[in-house]
């Protein structure tokens, strides 16, 4: 199954919250949805969840428009909002039971389904607790359990890791990995980019409602890189190595950083291989020769300006 978004626009009066967003999400994908505050992430997720209408554009699940057939689309979509609405005087089990009823799940299936979900999301121990008394992490697990009640193919998550402690974050990450292995497509917006990079296989970066980058994590982090940072660690005589490397083509901004030699390298991978061969042939002994990977955080900082609409 594929969730495809094409030329999506959403205006609130004169404010253009989403401007021509185009991307797709496949089964098993975990896509990080990244952007500064006010970039249009929540609006986009709400449109995909059929809560908001788009001003124009297409959103389809396997060719079926979610705007013309929202009821059919809802069967394939689970939505986790940034915070769980307050449900006074309701226990976790009652809350899940209520939503299972709302999805029209009959009693013979409902009881076992809720028990399975409670077990899967580690809620068994707190099933009789009132939702209002739960911690943020527990509420988030309840929210995920609720979103999984109808066994959706796509899970849309708005800032699920915000306010979670480290343990809850790790648990959430593991949960998402399991869901991805089950073939569910997950679109997850978050500000914690290091975490996203760890669990996501693709990323979508937006600013002011516009798409800046979309692709696999590797594509996003390597795209538009004019020079990669090359790191070399010689076994001895770093000065001699630096003089040798400085004479090479594609090398710029060379610095000695303790026992490491760092420089910008604008050559291709083949040319880097040849450089390594020449260094070895030149009698230099290396124990490290690698490119520093640009992470999602630095890409995000480089391509966004933090502006809102």
């Amino acid at each position: 199954m594929i969730l495809s978004v094409e030329n999506l626009y959403k205006n609130f009066g004169s404010t253009h919250a989403v401007k021509g967003l185009t991307f797709s999400l496949g089964g098993g994908d975990i896509t990080g949805f990244v952007g500064p505050n006010g970039a249009g992430k929540t609006t986009t997720l709400r449109i995909l969840a059929t809560i908001e209408d788009a001003s124009s554009g297409k959103v389809e699940i396997d060719g079926l428009s979610i705007f013309s057939h929202p009821e059919a689309a809802r069967e394939q979509i689970g939505f986790v909002p940034d915070s769980l609405p307050v449900h006074a005087d309701m226990s976790v089990h009652e809350y899940l039971d209520f939503f299972a009823r709302a999805y029209g799940i009959t009693s013979n299936r409902r009881h076992s389904l809720i028990e399975d979900l409670e077990e899967f999301t580690n809620l068994v121990g707190i099933r009789e607790k009132l939702i209002a008394n739960l911690s943020k992490g527990m509420k988030q697990r309840v929210s995920i359990a609720r979103a999984l009640i109808n066994d959706p193919q796509f899970l849309l998550m708005d800032e699920p890791a915000a306010g979670l402690d480290p343990r809850a974050r790790i648990e959430l990450r593991e949960l998402l990995r399991v869901l991805s292995r089950q073939g569910k497509g997950i679109l997850i917006s978050s500000h914690i980019l290091s975490e996203l990079a760890e669990i996501c296989n693709s990323a979508l970066i937006i600013e002011q409602g516009m798409l800046l980058k979309f692709g696999s994590i590797e594509e996003v982090t390597s795209h538009n890189q004019q020079a990669r940072r090359l790191i070399l660690k010689p076994l001895s005589d770093i000065e001699a190595l630096s003089r040798f490397v400085l004479l090479e083509q594609w090398v710029e901004n060379l610095v000695i950083n303790g026992k490491l030699l760092e420089c910008d390298y604008a050559g291709t991978d083949d040319e880097a291989c040849e450089l390594l061969q020449r260094i070895i042939a030149g009698g230099h002994r290396l124990i490290e020769f690698r490119f520093r990977q640009q992470n999602l955080e630095s890409v995000f900082m480089n391509i966004t300006r933090g502006e809102v609409q």
């Binding site: 609130f12 009066g13 004169s14 969840a49 059929t50 809560i51 209408d53 428009s65 705007f67 013309s68 929202p70 009821e71 809802r74 069967e75 979509i77 939505f79 909002p81 609405p85 307050v86 449900h87 006074a88 005087d89 309701m90 009652e94 039971d97 209520f98 939503f99 009823r101 709302a102 999805y103 029209g104 009959t106 009693s107 013979n108 609720r146 109808n150």
Partner: protein, 483 residues
């Protein structure tokens, strides 16, 4: 079939909202608090009545019953509906209902569930209070059928009140509007309580004959049942429409139910007019219709002016059905056309009845029909002018959904500004009052009012010609292209 399978089947057909609401009610302190507090009141009132007047007093039963009914009615008509409404508004505000919309549950199910939960609560209160009320029968001065009549009427109005509060609560979209509508809901319910309770108290004290002939008790009860049923149904449809997603054809059911209620209430008013040989009730009906149509104008001008995919998909291809659908489907131009159509029908019906020889005061009816038609023309014209002002000057500031605010301001400006101008110029010409539709209430100048109203409407139509034409064209081409 085992008892378990029967239970499961029953459990499956239960509205999930009722299950949720009742679970919350049982867990919460509110229900028990209200029940104990009001039962305590009942005990105190009954004891004090007996202690004060003694069992032999001729009116002790009627007085105790009046107090008890007042307490019960306050709980069932004010406390429970307002609590239900406030709770719903809070849920709307924190987004709980949004999560429900991405399930397979419909807005109608949500509203029905909320209403049913409130009614269960009201029934429980009635059950708990009935022993005390029955005790008054053993005191003197109580008419048992009257007690039942009061209870039934109280229950019917409580049902309409509960649905009305759900409707007001549904309007709360954010924390500011939540505060506003919470205040509006409480004010409306408390005001209505004192009006109805006052009439109920008079009925218990002086008998039903003061309000209607004893021979008409059943007819009155039947009419009240119809009226409260119609109000409840209309509030239900309106609430479901308000909370339905913006792209859905949410006004369709509202306009259909409003049309059915219009026809039903017309027949009821007609029946009472012939029964009492007087056009007064019919005039009351036409006044209420006029008020309803003015509200419908405010709603219609704030509706979207382009078709969503979902509405376009529902437009019938049959040319007759399609033309009819234009009046009833969601859409600003269609909504305004529906109001115009209903006002023409109302005026026509009133004029038709005014020629009847069977009822009195028919000349009043003809005058009233002109006044009502003028009112609708005025407000349609002001609404269309407000639409232009919003689109031309404030399209980036004011969303189309809030055009009703501009409409209100335009109406107020036309009503009040000429009066200021009048006093400023020191003119004694009341021609400046013509901007106020209430000026047409004066019998001497209702033709001036009608002429002015039609002029404003014509101006509005000219200014909005391209906007209206675009909507008609879009509607005409949509059904075919989406088939």
């Amino acid at each position: 079939m085992t008892p378990e399978s029967i239970y499961n089947r029953f459990d499956d057909i239960l509205n999930p909202i009722i299950v949720k609401e009742l679970r919350q009610v049982v867990r919460g302190k509110f229900f028990w608090g209200v029940l104990i507090l009001f039962l305590g009141f009942q005990c105190i009132v009954l004891s004090l009545s007996i202690a004060d007047r003694g069992l032999t007093s001729r009116s002790v039963g009627a007085e105790a019953l009046t107090f008890l009914f007042g307490i019960l009615f306050f709980a069932s008509f004010v406390i429970v509906p307002v609590y239900n409404g406030v709770k719903f508004a809070k849920e709307r505000n924190d987004g709980s209902d949004e999560l429900l919309f991405i399930t397979t549950i419909t807005p109608q199910t949500i509203v029905k569930g909320k209403f049913a939960a409130a009614m269960v609560f009201i029934f429980l209160l009635y059950s708990a209070f009935s022993p005390f009320m029955a005790m008054t029968f053993f005191l003197s001065g109580v008419d048992l059928p009257l007690t039942f009549l009061a209870l039934i009427i109280g229950l019917l109005f409580s049902a309409a009140g509960a649905m009305g509060q759900i409707c007001i609560a549904a309007l709360a979209r954010d924390s500011n509007s939540q505060q506003f509508f919470r205040g509006l809901g409480i004010f409306t319910q408390v005001s209505l309580f004192f009006t109805i309770a006052g009439a109920g108290s008079d009925m218990v004290h002086y008998g039903t004959g003061r309000f209607f002939p004893v021979s008409d008790t059943l007819s009155t009860l039947f009419s009240l049942t119809l009226i409260s049923g119609a109000l409840t149904y209309f509030f239900y449809r309106a609430s479901a429409a308000i909370i339905a997603p913006a792209g859905s054809n949410r006004m369709y059911q509202v306009r259909v139910s409003a049309s059915v209620i219009w026809a039903g209430s017309f027949l009821l008013a007609l029946w009472w007019s012939f029964k009492t040989s007087s056009a007064h009730l019919f005039m009351l009906w036409s006044g209420l219709v006029c008020f309803g149509l003015c509200l419908a104008i405010a709603v219609a001008i704030s509706e979207r002016d382009s078709l969503s995919d979902r509405i376009a998909r529902e437009i019938p291809t049959n040319p007759i059905k399609k033309r009819l659908a234009f009046f009833f489907f969601s859409g600003s131009a269609g909504g305004l056309a529906w109001v115009a159509g209903m006002s023409i029908l109302t005026t026509f019906a009133m004029n038709l009845l005014s020629s009847s020889a069977l009822i009195r005061h028919t000349s009043d009816l003809r005058d009233a029909s002109f006044v009502i038609f003028s009112f609708v023309c005025y407000f349609l014209g002001y609404a269309l002018i407000a639409g232009v002002i919003r689109r031309v000057f404030f399209s980036s500031l004011i969303d189309i959904r809030n055009t009703w605010v501009v409409f209100l301001l335009v109406s107020v400006a036309f009503c009040i500004l000429p009066m200021f101008l009048w006093s400023f110029l020191g003119s004694d010409s009341d021609i400046l009052m013509l901007g106020n539709p209430f000026a047409s209430l004066s019998r001497s100048r209702y033709l001036d009012g009608l002429f002015f109203g039609l002029s404003v409407l014509l101006l509005g139509l000219i200014l909005n010609f391209s906007w209206l034409r675009a909507q008609v064209k879009e509607f005409a081409s949509a059904g075919a292209s989406h088939e």
